[in-house]
Amino acid sequence: MIHKVLIANRGEIAVRIIRACKELGIETVAVYSEADRDAMHTRLADHAICIGPAQSDQSYRSIPALMSAAEVGDVDAIHPGYGFLAENPDFAEIVIESGYTWIGPSPESMRIMGDKVAAKNKMRSAGVPLVPGSDGAIKDIEEAKRIARAAGFPVIVKAAAGGGGRGMKVVHSEPALSGAVMMAQSEAATAFGDDTVYIEKFLEEPRHIEVQVLGDKHGNVVHLFERECSMQRKHQKVLEEAPSPFLDPETRERICMAGVAAAKAVDYVGAGTIEFLMNPDKSFYFIEMNTRIQVEHPVTEMITGIDLIEWQIRVAQGEPLEFTQQDLKMKGHAIECRINAEHPFKFTPSPGKVELFHAPGGRNVRVDSAVYTGYSIPPYYDSMIAKVITHARTRERCIRTMQRAIDELAVMGVTTNRELHQRLLANPGFQSGNFNIHFLERWLKQMQL
């Protein structure tokens, strides 16, 4: 039985975890950096320990500081939240070896899913669809041609050591392939010191659809349906919803069961998310698994009625899931808008003092935030200050509830992206449900003209 938890995080997710612990009768220990002395999570927890200076590396990401706080706080378990060390298998291992309960999956499953090549190999053997392409490095142009033909053009040549959009070349037809491979190799060598490249089918208009899973220590794994997260800017999600407006029941069943297969392949314990890209023809491919709770978990909670943080904790202390797949049902539609302290269209960050914070309320509105009137947003951490979530019987009604909620939301003293959400929610493309991962950036670009 877990009696006392250390929350190795800050901001809204720390508040979320503290709330779940309180409802379960579990004592809470918050940790904070010097920049977070007045943060809400330190006020709500039963105990709060200052663990370091503002810099994350010396506080929220410092394993010695966190473990020392766990010792001093005399806790039973540690919840890592999301970001920081949540997907760090070394941290998970140290927590476990030090005798605490890790509220998350095993270090082994974190390692497999954290390694792109190992994850793909596991998924292949579990029958989870992968993006067609080369299994590993391309040895020569002949191999490149063979793979590209099999996958089908357009293809993308990627640097194995790259990432973040760098070292990638899209090739639309075979004549351009050998030149693109050579350029990608030489760019990769220069940028990453490794000229290894691989080829994948390039998905032109995909949607980002992810599946929420929950596994216990008794081998039970269920899915809690999917989330649509295609509204992204520079790979950062801005608005998420559940269920996806694009899926029919048959496709939903296929993709959600693929998520379960992925989780079972690594004996997954706890809450996790499997990310897929889906084509207009409803074919989909695994891209990665996030071995932690996600920012957008509330939309899944709203449509299923399940408290995911509660179940992370209960599963960690060895309880079996109380529900089977058949027990889980979707009800209505939910949307989450991420409110960031930044200019709505220039995206310049806006830390500083929140002179007034007024959260929307009323039926079907949920706000997850760590901000309050008079709070100073520190410049050291990410800019998300609140999540506004709405739930209604239909998607159309859910959008109207969210519009009303965003209109009610007041944040004075710092600039927020409230206006971005207002415009996005009113946009016919968004309202139609016909969009993909390029929609938001294309729409923003068009607005600047």
């Binding site: 320990i49 200052c50 370091g52 500081a65």
Partner: protein, 92 residues
């Protein structure tokens, strides 16, 4: 929520020695040993003032300047937070 350990009261900030890490504060190397720094003791820069134990490792906290120990603000074998004042040491 209350902090894990009490804060110091009315001490001149410039003469405070603060904990550089979270852990358990010890005044001596072992339970039977003599305290590193007692009230009135003159300390030299680099001399050990106390130990903060973190993750089973004993970290020696050293004086940053020559001075005289005026006050010891924390009880032996109690937890301390990062930044918590431990001593008041008047510079010489």
């Amino acid at each position: 929520a209350p902090a894990a350990a009490p804060a110091a009261s009315n001490v001149p900030a410039g003469h405070q020695v603060k904990a550089p890490m979270v852990g358990t504060f010890y005044r001596a190397a072992s339970p039977d040993a003599e305290a590193f720094a007692s009230e009135g003791k003159k300390v030299k820069k680099g001399e050990t003032l106390c130990i903060i134990e973190a993750m089973k490792l004993m970290n020696e906290i050293e004086a940053e300047y020559d001075g005289v120990v005026e006050e010891i603000l924390v009880e032996n074998a109690t937890p301390v937070e990062y930044g918590q004042p431990l001593f008041v040491i008047r510079p010489l």
